[in-house]
Point group: C2
Chain length 197, copies 2
Amino acid sequence: MDSRERLIQATSDLMWERGYAATSPREIRERSGVGQGSMYHHFAGKRELALAALERNCADLLPATEALLTESGDPLDKLEGYLSRQHQVLKGCKVGRMTQDPLVASDPTLLAPVRDAFATIHDRLAVVITEAIALGELSADLNPDELASMITATIQGGYVLAIAAQDPRPFDEARAGARHLLRAVALGAAQDRKEQK
Amino acid sequence: MDSRERLIQATSDLMWERGYAATSPREIRERSGVGQGSMYHHFAGKRELALAALERNCADLLPATEALLTESGDPLDKLEGYLSRQHQVLKGCKVGRMTQDPLVASDPTLLAPVRDAFATIHDRLAVVITEAIALGELSADLNPDELASMITATIQGGYVLAIAAQDPRPFDEARAGARHLLRAVALGAAQDRKEQK
DNA sequence: GTCTATAACCCGATAGAC
DNA sequence: GTCTATCGGGTTATAGAC
């Protein structure tokens, strides 16, 4: 692995662990084993390196999520699958955490990959929810954008609750709550259809 | 207002805006108008002052929330009320943001007021949900702890989505999604009761 | 209790040898 | 491309006059 790659890897890890502002060139140098000068040879500065690391972290998460949501299968099962994946809860979300770093949130360039990642997930979720409504699994009264935002928020907020409690349980509870509500309204919709027959 | 109070006020504001790690004694001094030495007279250091400011920020948010959830009234209306309050969305949550600050999350003393605040809200929500189930407004199949975590997570995650998009809309969408799902299952439960008659 | 002065250290960045 | 040495400035904290 070359120096450039080692720098990005070390920075990606540190940004997940500490965020952008709290990650220093010294830590990057120590963890990557790359000399101080090399960092400034490959990148214009900390911000440029952080941008590459941030794009890496977003790219790490998106493919698996997109695959899960776009594969063929029952829409409601896909939503439940999205709400049941394994996460390193107490480490927080590589992508979502960046929104709480004031230097990232106030820097449109650094925030862009985060914004795009959430926009992509939102769109994929909204498509799956629209499918579920078309199949009659969910009531047409439900709004796909609202439901998609609620599902993503449940996960992102679950991290917050779990870190506050230093216990992954609230994260799992929050997701289970969302799954069970979805099943409950799906059941209701199924009953409605039976009643209409 | 005395120096001690001005220091806490300035630090509370700065921690909401920037978090703990990114708030420096110099900024506190400038915003509070209090000299450098005075800060170390009233507090042992930045951490002690931050703890006082953090407790202040938690105390700022809890009373209104507790009042809303413990007042008399229809349980489902109270849940909707909790999911409909006005927030300065793009500033994020004074309390929740702290979980994403690595220096806070790794410091049990600093994290304690955050943990306690979320635990209190969770308990109050779970009580209201239990009332709603007892009244037959919600199905007894729903788990109060799960639903309480889901509701809190929806709000905390809504902040994340809104900051990522630099637009308060995803926050409102997520909350609306939660409200509409709750209404949908409430309607289902009402129908079930009618069918049982 | 409040102030100014300053210490000791770390930050992000640069210079220049190899 | 990689290294060591170093810069100017900011950080948290302390000393000590008033």
